[in-house]
Symmetry: C2
């Protein structure tokens, strides 16, 4: 079964293309949009369809492999690796980022009550409740 994977890159972004590609696939894998063992586009095919250099794709894939997000082998291709730990680690990273920003807000004279009130609104609006 061959699944078509579509990612998009922004040539005007300050974020380097190789990291855009890496993060797009990371997101697809962490959210299970691409399932464990599923085949990813080949280096040359993806480079061709995105009109960017194969070396740039290779670099993105190399980083993903180093992080354990994919598994690749010559002649066979590149395959997604799903790992419970990856998702959990990503969640903790995000909470660290949230903590950092909340600290910043505190230095800007925002009280805990105000911050929590705004966050409640945001979650109510952006996130579905009750699982």
């Amino acid at each position: 079964m061959e699944v078509i994977i579509i990612i998009s890159i922004d040539h005007r972004s300050a974020k380097p293309i190789c990291y855009q590609v890496r993060d797009e696939f990371k997101k697809l894998i962490l959210t299970k949009a691409v399932r464990n063992g599923e085949k990813l586009p080949s280096v040359r095919e993806l480079a061709s369809s995105l009109a960017i250099n194969p070396n740039t794709i290779q670099r993105a894939y190399r980083e993903l492999e180093n992080e354990g997000m994919i598994s690749s082998a010559p002649g066979r291709g590149v395959f997604a690796v799903w790992n419970e730990g990856h998702a959990q680690r990503q969640i903790e990273t995000h909470f660290s980022e949230l903590t950092e920003i909340i600290r910043e807000l505190a230095t800007l004279d925002m009280t805990g009550e105000k911050i929590l009130a705004r966050l409640s609104e945001i979650i109510e609006r952006e996130v579905k409740m009750h699982d």
Copy 2:
């Protein structure tokens, strides 16, 4: 009255020095650690004490002036400008960042309840309540 302003830069950081300097001063001004009208170190003096090139300081100051965070004049020096709008805009920027990360958490199968519970703990621990 002359106030000594101490900022630190990290030469190993991926963040360019000029932006480190810019953001350090921005933070000092937004948190009122440096008050409105207060004199900032001269380009050459700061460059000397941080052991970096004057042009790099100049660039940081130029950006701060473009953002209205400082006011500078040849022969006189550089002075902090405090503006209520600046702080408010910074707060809104931070809430936009928070929103973005919360959306990411939602895609990672976190429910609104779980996110809010963790955020309550973080705020309790990191931010003083009751103003």
